[in-house]
């Protein structure tokens, strides 16, 4: 468990709404960006186990796991859609759980097992979930797709492990991979092309495959 992060909200000057601002035409007006300061070592060296392979990294401490993958390891299958944990395009699997890799600093993952879309399959040998997305046209532009696929695999595992969701009605019964459960659990992965109905069909197909 990571320690809670302490931070202080600093309102940027331009957000301090005052009535005078409306009539302040032609008055020199200043917007101060939040200053940054760095304390301690700025870079760290550590090892990630990415798709089964140990990869040593020496990166700026501010580097997210997402950027470590995309920019430093050049594993660009994991996508940056928002960089703020709002879209799910950067979903990867870390130590058996799906996370938004943009919300996690790479330096926090010393020794962690990271599985990305590249670790699931290749065009010549697809993972069953990749095959299911292909079969059901579960994508259009393809940009959210790796995140959807990584999430979808984890969703089925979470259901098999009987991890309840917001829509689980009976916490004592075995959870089934129903439409409602899948939709709820996939809702952190936005697809602006709107392939949701096809993705649902794909996940059902993959759910029927032996694991």
């Amino acid at each position: 468990m990571s320690p809670p992060i302490r931070f202080e909200m600093r309102r940027r000057t331009f957000l301090v709404g005052t009535a005078s601002a409306v009539v302040a035409a032609n008055i020199p007006w200043r917007a101060n960006a939040q200053p940054t300061s760095l304390a301690g070592p700025e870079r760290s060296t550590f090892t990630l186990v990415v798709n089964g392979e140990p990869r040593e990294l020496a990166v700026d401490n501010r580097t997210t796991l997402l950027d470590a993958l995309r920019e430093h390891l050049q594993l660009t299958g994991t996508k940056k859609g928002c960089d703020h944990g709002q879209c799910g395009a950067c979903t990867v699997n870390v130590n058996g759980e799906r996370i938004n890799s943009c919300l996690s600093l790479a330096v926090m993952h010393q020794g962690d097992e990271v599985t990305t879309i590249e670790g699931l399959g290749t065009p010549q040998q697809l993972d069953p979930m990749q095959q299911a997305f292909f079969d059901h046209d579960g994508f259009q532009c393809g940009y959210c797709t790796p995140g959807q696929i990584c999430s979808a695999k984890a969703v089925l595992e979470e259901i098999r492990d009987n991890v309840p969701s917001h829509v689980t009605q009976d916490l004592t019964a075995r959870i089934e991979a129903t439409d409602e459960e899948i939709r709820e659990r996939m809702s952190g992965n936005i697809c602006r092309c709107g392939a949701y109905a096809n993705i649902l069909e794909a996940i059902h197909q993959a759910a029927g495959e032996p694991t």
Partner: protein, 726 residues
């Protein structure tokens, strides 16, 4: 190839590949994360630096000073270029605000500086150190006030008959106001570019653009250089929806950074920056008046709308469909452009109709109710096969009535409860609604090169695939025309080195670019025939067949290449009106206590020419229905009236539909071929899917509860105080 008259019977009427379901040929790359998008091109050029943008913190005014000293001396920073460092850049035809240069601020988060550093983290941190001093001008971002000013003024764009007299004598009339909010494309891949302009000579741009040639021309105009010195590549695009039609700040800032530092620069617009820095769909205010006889026939349609724009822009013309969609002898249509100081309003999926039908199709529902008619029958009664504003012009094909009847039949429309608030299931009011869909069809000239090489055909064109399925349908077109299996066709897209195509936008891409590939393949066939010394051969099963003379294409060892374009003749717009039609049916549940609306079932029936690939076409339509659901229930850019920007400028605050919002969706294509449109008899379908959906949902919510919401999105706060007592 000139297309100067409607297509007669041709090979596409006996097609074996075109029109058949075929999985996307780019699909394996996309499901494995190996399709390279703009910001991922580590391989194309060595020594790429990272750029990070800085945007204006005011909506309008002048920059007095930018202090970039701290940024320039920050760790890893290689350079900073501010907008004060360079002369104002040129502005290309379809851009409104200047993308960079000079001290004038036209909108919030207009780019004012670019920081270039060795890493992304360094560039981002240094960008936050830049301090800017502004002179701030007063702003006007109040669309409602603009509407009040302009309502009743101006020259109508369409005026037929005597609207006022028709209203005076009508048995039934409707006069209502509707509001649609500003919307943002919110495509999943941010605007991103890598630009190498290191030596100031050749500029190479790896970007995410729907329109390669427009991008190239815009770069040339912006920087005042010859287009021949620019090459643009965009083979994979993570969504666009109109937001990537134009050159934007990502490519401009990367180019400036590259030029300044003599190294290639990569730059992606941060998500919270995109909504105010790039374009959006303008909000609209619409007044719709309908008049009808007691028989239900419309006698007059009066549609007046307003949208906002920066000075010189186009706004969102919500009246786009009103001259054409329904019959009525008297008609007045006018759209007011209200100049405001919000970011640049521009095209988003089905610009015009998407917003216009959100209002018009509620009005039609309300009018049907006033007339005590079924809303499906009311629309059927007011169908027209000619342009109602100019009855000498017929629609090339129009099967709107079939869409309505087929949809009603499949949906079980006849079995619905017709009394608003009359059906409850547990904690939910259940309602059904429908709406018509209309979207104009347009073709653009489109070119391609077809090359025969070792029995395979390679198609090269600057056409783009923004998720629409261009790779696949172009391969199908080439396979059909050359008589080859799909596996022997390769399609290369999105490179300005290749022939100029229509590009992707305005739902013109599929129809135009497949016709262009057909033209190139016909030219290649002629070359092959000449090479073999045969006349008018058939191309089938991989062979060239001329009488008893059968030559496998694979036996031609010489590489043959042909280039051609499809040029669409004036007859299409002079003699016909081309459009696409649809009908949407939805079932919603509205929570009896909270007013939360959930969509439970959706059906669309589409009339949009030959469907080139039912898999990719269906995905386009369900995607439109998803976007329409967001538009109905959650999407709204909130304007900060004091500071003039969109406050909810990220994907947490701007709520698009997610998995949990979308039910089972059914799509039916009537597959009505349209020989006027193209040799393949195809029309666009990508924007039709979003048209009318939101109104169908709003109408269903009314049927469920009896609460008529005319202002989008239909959120619970707009219903809760009027819900039936429980």
């Amino acid at each position: 190839m000139d297309f100067n008259q409607p297509a007669d019977q041709n090979l596409f009427d006996r097609a074996t590949v075109v029109g058949k379901p075929h999985a996307r040929i780019d699909g394996l790359l996309k499901v494995t994360g190996t399709a390279p998008y703009a910001y991922e091109r580590h391989d194309v050029v060595a020594g790429q630096l990272y750029g990070y943008p800085v945007g204006s913190a005011i909506a309008k005014g002048r920059i007095v000073a930018i202090d970039a000293d701290a940024a320039r001396s920050a760790p890893g920073v290689r350079g900073v270029v501010t907008t004060l460092d360079i002369e104002p850049l040129g502005i290309w035809n379809y851009n409104v605000a200047r993308l960079f240069g000079g001290d004038v601020v036209e909108h919030y988060q207009q780019a004012i500086a670019v920081v270039v550093a060795e890493t992304f983290e360094q560039a981002r941190a240094a960008a936050a150190l830049i301090e800017t001093t502004y002179e701030r001008d007063a702003i006007d971002v109040d669309l409602e006030a603009g509407w009040q000013r302009m309502q009743g003024t101006g020259e109508p764009s369409t005026q037929v008959g005597d609207v006022d007299a028709a209203f005076d004598s009508a048995a039934v009339t409707l006069d209502q106001m509707y509001h649609t909010p500003s919307q943002t494309h919110a495509m999943m891949e941010p605007h991103a570019s890598i630009v190498d302009w290191s030596d100031g000579g050749q500029m190479t741009v790896w970007t995410s653009s729907q329109m390669i040639e427009w991008n190239r021309q815009a770069l040339a105009t912006t920087f005042g250089i010859e287009p021949d010195r620019i090459r643009v590549e965009s083979p994979y695009i993570g969504g666009g929806f109109g937001g990537k039609l134009w050159l934007r700040a990502d490519a401009v800032l990367a180019a400036i950074g590259s030029r300044a530092l003599g190294a290639p620069v990569r730059l992606a617009l941060p998500r919270p920056f995109m909504i105010n820095n790039t374009t959006h769909r303008s909000a609209t205010i619409q007044r719709i008046r309908l008049a009808a006889g007691a028989d239900g026939k419309l006698t007059a349609i009066d549609h007046e709308a307003a949208s906002h724009t920066l000075p010189g822009g186009r706004g969102e013309n919500a009246t786009a469909q009103t001259p054409y969609f329904y019959a009525a002898p008297n008609r007045r249509v006018i759209h007011h452009l209200v100049e405001m100081h919000l970011p640049e309003a521009s095209d988003m999926r089905a610009p015009g109709e998407a917003s216009g039908l959100m209002a018009l199709e509620i009005a039609m529902d309300e009018m049907a109710e006033k007339l005590e008619m079924d809303p499906v029958e009311f629309r059927i009664l007011n169908d027209t096969q000619v342009n109602p504003s100019d009855p000498s012009i017929p629609f090339s094909e129009r099967h709107f009535v079939e869409c309505l009847r087929e949809g009603a039949d499949r949906f079980g429309w006849a079995d619905r409860n017709t009394t608003p608030g009359g059906r409850r299931e547990g904690m939910w009011w259940i309602g059904h609604g429908m709406a018509g869909a209309y979207r104009g069809h347009l073709n653009l000239k489109s070119g391609a090169r077809a090359t025969l090489s070792n029995g395979r055909v390679i198609i090269e064109t600057d056409m783009t695939d923004i998720g629409t399925g261009s790779y696949t349908i172009l391969a199908q077109t080439a396979a059909e025309t050359m008589g080859l299996p799909m596996g022997r066709v390769e399609v290369r897209l999105g490179n300005s080195a290749w022939p100029v195509s229509s590009g992707s936008g305005g739902q013109f891409g599929a129809a135009s670019s497949t016709a262009g590939v057909y033209a190139a393949c016909v030219a290649l066939r002629e070359q092959i025939a000449e090479r073999l010394g045969v006349s008018d051969p058939e191309f089938s099963d991989g062979n060239v067949v001329a009488g008893d003379n059968v030559t496998p294409l694979s036996a031609i060892t010489e590489e043959l290449s042909a280039e051609d374009s499809i040029n669409f003749g004036g007859f299409q717009t002079e003699d016909y009106l081309m459009a696409t039609f649809g009908a949407h049916f939805v079932e919603v549940a509205v929570h009896v206590a909270t007013g939360e609306t959930r969509v439970r079932r959706m059906l669309a029936v589409c009339d949009s020419g030959r469907i080139l690939n039912p898999i990719t076409a269906r995905s386009q339509v369900i995607g439109g229905m998803v976007m329409g659901t967001g538009g109905a229930l959650s999407e709204e850019l909130a304007v900060d009236l004091e500071h003039g920007f969109f406050a909810n400028h990220d994907l947490a605050g701007y709520e698009v539909a997610v998995h949990a919002d979308i039910p089972h969706q059914e799509v039916v294509f009537l597959d009505t071929v349209d020989g006027v449109a193209t040799p393949l008899k195809a029309k666009g379908v990508g924007e039709l899917g979003v048209c009318g959906v939101a109104a169908a949902i709003a109408n269903a919510a009314y049927n469920a509860t009896g609460v008529r919401v005319r202002d989008y999105p239909v959120t619970l706060d707009r219903m809760i105080d009027q819900l039936p007592a429980v």
